[in-house]
Each structure stands twice: as C-alpha cells, then as structure tokens.
Subunit: 373 residues, 2 copies
Amino acid sequence: MDGERGTLREVTLEDIRPIGIGAGILGTGGGGNPYLGGLHLASVIREKGPQAIIDPFDLADEALCCVIGSIGAPTVSIEKLPEGTEMMRAIRLLEAHIGRRFDAIAIAEIGGANSMQPLIGGLQAGIPTVDSDSMGRAFPEIQMSSFLFDTSATAAPLAMVDAADNAAVVPAAVSDVWAEKIARNIAVSMGARAGLAGTIMTGAQVKSAGVHYTLSLARGLGARVIEAQAQKSDVPPVVAAALDGQVIFRGKIADVERRTTKGFARGGIRLDSFNNCDRLEIEFQNEFLIGRLNGETVATTPDLICIVTEEEGEPVTTEALRYGTRVAVVTAPAPPQLKSEAALQVVGPVAFGYNAPFRPLPGGVIGLRPVLG
Amino acid sequence: MDGERGTLREVTLEDIRPIGIGAGILGTGGGGNPYLGGLHLASVIREKGPQAIIDPFDLADEALCCVIGSIGAPTVSIEKLPEGTEMMRAIRLLEAHIGRRFDAIAIAEIGGANSMQPLIGGLQAGIPTVDSDSMGRAFPEIQMSSFLFDTSATAAPLAMVDAADNAAVVPAAVSDVWAEKIARNIAVSMGARAGLAGTIMTGAQVKSAGVHYTLSLARGLGARVIEAQAQKSDVPPVVAAALDGQVIFRGKIADVERRTTKGFARGGIRLDSFNNCDRLEIEFQNEFLIGRLNGETVATTPDLICIVTEEEGEPVTTEALRYGTRVAVVTAPAPPQLKSEAALQVVGPVAFGYNAPFRPLPGGVIGLRPVLG
C-alpha cells in the first residue's frame, strides 16, 4: 500500500450515498441492493450516531474479529426485506457459541449492501468495523475469502439468523466448502436471505490476509462518481480510472435470463452495442463472473466486471438488470490476494465450472492510489 | 395402560433381532433399515455390554431428556453408511450447546433403525434409553411427535452431525415446522443422512406425552413373528393380531415409483393380488401414508400401514421395496396420542397434502395387551 491508509475514521449519514455507489460498483452485481442497504444504515445511524471505523493496522494482534454479511440471493433481497437486527443477532449468537466477545467486525465482501451490513451490525452491537474486506469485490460463496486462503482461519463456526426467530449455528465443518454447503442450505430454508457471522480471526490474521481500505475505496469511488455526475462528465471512464480498469462496452441490455435457485441468483445477460455491431455476454452467480465479447472471453473472475448506467455511472446489480437499460461495462483487475495460485483454485473461472483459464487484466493493486490520493 | 408396564430392563444381543423385526413393521416403511441398524447396535453391545432401559414412569419429573435419531432418506441409509458415533456426537453437541447433561434418551420414532439409534447413542454416551417413543410408528418429519403436540417442549434447540466432521445446531426456530425445514436442508447438505438430537424435555413431559413401552412392543412383536416362523405358521395374521389390526391384502409388488428428493424418499407402489383381481396402491414419504384398494381409500395416516413378506412376515421397508416381492399388508390403528384434533393437523392425511379425511381404523390402544401379555 506504499504507506497509504484508508480515509475513513467513521461512517456518517453523508458517507452512505458514496459508499453505496462505490460498493455497488465493486460488488460486480452482487452483495445485495446497496440502495436498500443504505436506507437501513441511515436509519441506524440516525438512531445511534456514526459507526466507528478501525484501520486494520490499528488492530491488536490478539484482537478477536469475525466477518458478517447477508447470505442468499440478491434477487430475494429486494422482495424479502430484513427485520433489521439480523446482523447484530448473528454476532451475538456466534459470541454466545464461542463464549467470547468480538473486538472488531471485518467486512466479508465490500460489494453492494454487504458493505453496509458490517456497519449496521457493528453499530447495533457496539463493535467497530474494520476498513478491510476479504474480496475487494463480492463473491457468491463463503469460502471465497482472502481471510481463508492462506491463514488458519476457518469459515466455521458460523452463526445464522433470519428475519423471524429462526437461528442456526455451524460449530464445525470438514472444510470451508462444506461450511458453505451447509450454510447455503440453511439460507434456503430461511427464504434465501439470512444474516451470517463467521470466519473468526485474530487481528493479526486480518492484517495479513485482508484486502485493506476497501470501505474507503468504495466511498472514494462513489464520491468521484457523484462529482462527475455534478460536472455532467462522462462518468463510466471516471469509474474505470478509479479502479485501474477500462470501459470495455457500452450498449443496451438485450436479454436477461435469471433463475433464483439453490440459494443463488444465477443467469446470464446479453448486451448489444448501440450500433448493434457488437455483443457482450455476461454470466453470473450472484456476481458477474465471465464476459464474452462477440464470443471471445475478455474478462474472467476474479477480475472485476462492473455494470454501471451509461449516463450516471450508477451501479447496476444483479437484481436490477432490466431489458433495455443503457449501460457501460467496466472491467478492472482483482486485488493480488485473489490471484495467487491457491486463491484462483477457489475464485478462478474453473471454480465456477467455466472451462476457461483466468486471463488477468493488466494492473493489480485495486486502484487505491487514484481514489485515495 | 391398565397398570401394564414394559418388559424390557435392558437390551442385549438377543433382543436385537426381535426388536429389528418389530420396529421394522411398526416403522410403516420408514425409520431406516433395521437390519443395518441391528448390525451396528450389535457391534456396540459387544464392546460395551447391554444398554439400560428406563421405564418412563421411573423417570424423575425434573430429569432432562431428549430424543435422537437419524434424519434423512431411508433410501440413502443403505448406501451411505454411518461413521458409527453420529448419535453420541449429536448428544454431546446438544449438551455442549445447552450446558447440561441428559439423564435419559427417549426414542423419536420406534420405526426401523431409528428404534436402535437411541440404544446405540445412549450406550456410547453412557445414558439410559427410555421405553417410550413419540409416534408408536415412524413419521418423516420432526414436528410429527407426540412430545410436541400438547407440551411446552419444542423441536429446537437441536443438534446435527454427519459421518464426517460437519455439525450444525439450530438454537431456536419460529415453530417446530420451521425447525424441520431448517434441519431437513441441513440433512440434505449432509448427504441426506445425519444424526440428530433435539426435543429437549423433562421427565414429566416424557411421561405425559410419550407413547409408552413401544420398545417392549417392538421386541414382543418381533418375538411373535420369530415364534410363528419357527412353527411354520401363517405369519401375517400373527402380526395383525399383535397390533389389533388386520391383514388387508396379499399379493405381489407390481410397480415401484421412487424418488429421493429434498431429503426424503418419496413415491408410491402398486400391489396386485395373486389372482390379479385386486389392486392396492400405497403412497409414501419415507413412511407408507395412504392406501387405496381398487381406488377406494382404506387406510390413512396416522393409522399404520405395514408391509411384511408374505411367507416370513418380515418387514419390507421403503428402501427394500422391489418388483415381484410377495407381501402381505397389515393395517393397524394408531395410538390415541396421534389421533387428537391437534395431532391430526400434524400427522393426518391433509398434513401430507392428501385431500382425504382421516378414517380411523377400529381399535386404538396399539396392541400392547396381546404383545406384552
């Protein structure tokens, strides 16, 4: 990070809109609806005040941390609204299970509403949120976490609650993939939407394995978008520049194929360029995972495929894909933590069943410098 | 019970075969394969000696009890063998969750291998087994338990483990039906076979709500079958007499339609009489639930529909249904605990989606007198 640090010391009402935009873009389609997440966060901040943000490198090595977030299908999150205290209840349930209190909440994924759940839950539980996540984007499955790639941390024990009084704890699992399988089926029985706390770590593990300052990144990215909107600039190139990426396509959503199945939103979309000469196809499982331009693969997970509205540069998430929407597609290199050999086995194209190698986009430090600078 | 008590004080190697036959019949097709359960129980008794059986009325009112059993699809239980300590691990996990030790293990369902799991788990955990279950038969879902109909007991908290190191706890659920939904999906992720401990009760609740002496009943029924086999008697009428029921059909299995889906073995069978004049159709969800003779409904859940081999009177469970097998079908009245208005809403035909009223068979005390006398 070249000594750069995050810009956030707390999250106030004013930060919600830029974080929502930035995390909506970083979420590559997933993480849940950032607008709804923002409304929820605003109501909690109005009641309790700003949420404290900890710089990961200010964590004590022995601090006890976990991640929290929503698990389920983003398509469900706009229909089945939360009760509101899911995140705090998941934290408390996990604390009760292990018999210890958490010192800080790390962010599971910076994408969409899941950038805000650790703020909401932390604020409700009286625990600060770390300015680090485990993806620098969003991914659909629990094991797809840099906190799990090279550390001794495990996804289980984990705790889950729903909008009613249903709860579940997974005290142990054979592997993180098994923890995901069990948690996913629990989420399905909870209506494909549940609050989850898990991946218990020390502060030292957060420091060594996290993708740092991504909450600051989200806010900075969102602020640039808002600024460009105010200046009537062409926004998508601003998004691309902030992420060390590029605008690879502009056009209209011509087809959306979507199915909410097995606790995920799966499907694909087809985009036609405005002159109808080019076609971009994107497949998703909660998140956009692979892009093919006129049949040729041009972007592969874990690199970021972000869809924004063509004029405003606002994020278009999985559940908001609509026929006819005018969009721009930005691709950007994933953070280096996701591109090690071990990481690619978990988050590369093959892990999602695509018979394609990972073709890294140029670059790799997730645009921190331009956004934070 | 007219002062009658169970006959079992302990379960030894010699009891396994009669219990397996009796529980296989009482299981109305479900509860898991009694032969495989018997092999498992025998290996544990050889190592640890007989398992102690408690008369329910010898339980202290404040004794802490739970039920244990396998959850999943019987069709899976003959392919995916257990690791062997699932029941004990489920007990220990639930004990760890609540921070207390159990004084006795009640039987969730007397059917099939699930008659033996509380003996296996109790023996391994050093806890006696109560001579009471909650069904007097087997049922596919957790909420279908007399321990839950009219008491303050709830299915959750419950604990589940699989043959590997996966585990899950459901600390709370909105209702027993929700506990079932969540536990079922966990069972699916555990390969449609898991060990479960739950339905925490006091001794007073076991006494007031249990279907008592059904382990003794299973052994007595099995002993009668073995005796009749030795005497070359016609066995199916002996089974019927022991259960206050009747033989309603003899014939061959002409068709089996079976699908293992959503954690259950579902399907239906068609039986043709030996003279091909009559046809009996039976539908099942783990257990045989409804029988139609030449199109007319003749037996409905919760009454017992038991299939035994035509010559030996041995139980034919869901997973053992085979084209061409010569069988007799015995129906018998369910115990009164299953026939209250509240109970029928949970275990009657409508609860399983059949558009049919419950038509009770005559009788009602589940044949205890002839078997125990």
